[in-house]
């Protein structure tokens, strides 16, 4: 039976191959936050409270475009709706823990840590897993340190990068790299294609509402196709 410390370390080691992918993402979000006109304190507050790269970048992009706060909040939280899905998926394995574990563990629920932990909970061992939450914590803390450190470095680099470098284009590129692994099935492709083109067509709507309309159309397309054709 491995100890708590060994299980924590196993979690930390399992996410470490993904650290290399997180660093440029964190750098870009720090750099972009400064280019958007946030103070370093605001940029770090966003990074620490949200701890969600895609939502942070979308927030910054929409601030630059002059979107109203309601649309910014709605967009960021829509992007983060997947955490509610992860939460539901991990809940059967975590809900018996006391609040001293549940409340902090929820904070560390990010994509990479979710993927590895659900894999451990569901597939590795059908028996009881009394230390699974230590594994989750190890992965979460590793992702947290990587994300906050790379964002902080980006914040310090931020001011010195000339506008002519078109670094704002890095935001859609990051989204693209996050999007592609999400296209696991043709229903997901349909959701993405519909969401992308409807958002483009509706792009002249005020307050960046085209984004919300596109996202809803994409979700509806995925669900409708799945219900019609079956998995």
């Amino acid at each position: 039976m491995p100890s708590r410390r060994e299980t924590f370390t196993a979690g930390a080691l399992s996410v470490s191959p993904m650290v290399a992918g997180v660093i440029p993402f964190g750098l870009i979000s720090g750099i972009t936050a400064m280019a958007t006109g946030l103070t370093a304190v605001q940029a770090m507050t966003l990074s620490i409270t949200a701890f969600a790269g895609a939502a942070q970048l979308a927030t910054l992009q929409l601030i630059t475009e002059g979107a109203i706060p309601a649309v910014i909040v709605l967009t960021a939280l829509t992007i983060n709706l997947r955490f509610a899905m992860y939460s539901a998926s991990l809940a059967p394995h975590l809900y018996r823990l006391g609040p001293g574990w549940r409340l902090p563990l929820a904070y560390f629920l990010v994509d990479q840590n979710y993927a590895l932990s659900i894999n451990r909970f569901q597939y590795q061992d059908r028996g009881p897993d009394p230390l699974g939450h230590w594994y989750f914590l190890g992965g979460g803390v590793t992702m947290w340190v990587t994300w906050q450190a790379s964002t902080l470095v980006g914040i310090f680099m931020g001011g010195g990068i000339p506008r002519g470098w078109s670094l704002d284009f890095a935001i859609p590129l990051v989204f693209m790299a996050v999007l592609v692994p999400n296209l696991r099935h043709r229903f997901h492709v349909a959701a993405a294609v519909t969401g992308g083109f409807v958002a483009t067509a509706a792009g002249s709507l005020p307050y960046n509402l085209g984004l919300v309309v596109g996202a809803l159309a994409g979700i509806a397309a995925g669900v409708a196709l799945e219900r019609r054709k079956g998995g």
Binding site: A58, A88, R102, V178, A192, S204
Partner: protein, 107 residues
């Protein structure tokens, strides 16, 4: 946006995100997720991310532009191929930015 509004926006996003993460871990004792909601949540990342990416490529100047002047479209398509085959954030970023800089230098 005023400084106060900006702070409020940041804090609402942060708090809301934490509550989304906590949601079903806390509520599991009392309720289960309806299957249709779970099914819909499954498509959120693909739909939202594409809704962010495509307009950035196709409407980079504000209106829809598929002409050769829209350099971000062609740089983006190049990056998309790399994202698809290499599945690497770093390579996707590097290819897309390099393609855009090359096109800007050439055109």
């Amino acid at each position: 946006m005023s400084n106060t509004t900006l702070w409020l926006t940041i804090l609402v996003i942060g708090t809301g995100t934490y509550l989304l993460r906590l949601s079903f871990i806390e509520l599991w004792k009392w309720l289960r997720v309806p299957p249709l909601l779970m099914q819909a949540l499954n498509y959120v990342p693909a739909a939202v991310l594409a809704a962010l990416v495509l307009p950035a490529m196709l409407r980079s100047g504000g209106s829809i532009d598929v002409s050769f002047d829209n350099l971000r479209l062609y740089a983006g398509l190049t990056a998309l191929m790399v994202a698809w085959y290499a599945r690497s954030m770093l390579l996707t970023l590097a290819t897309g930015m390099t393609a855009l800089w090359l096109l800007q230098a050439l055109v």
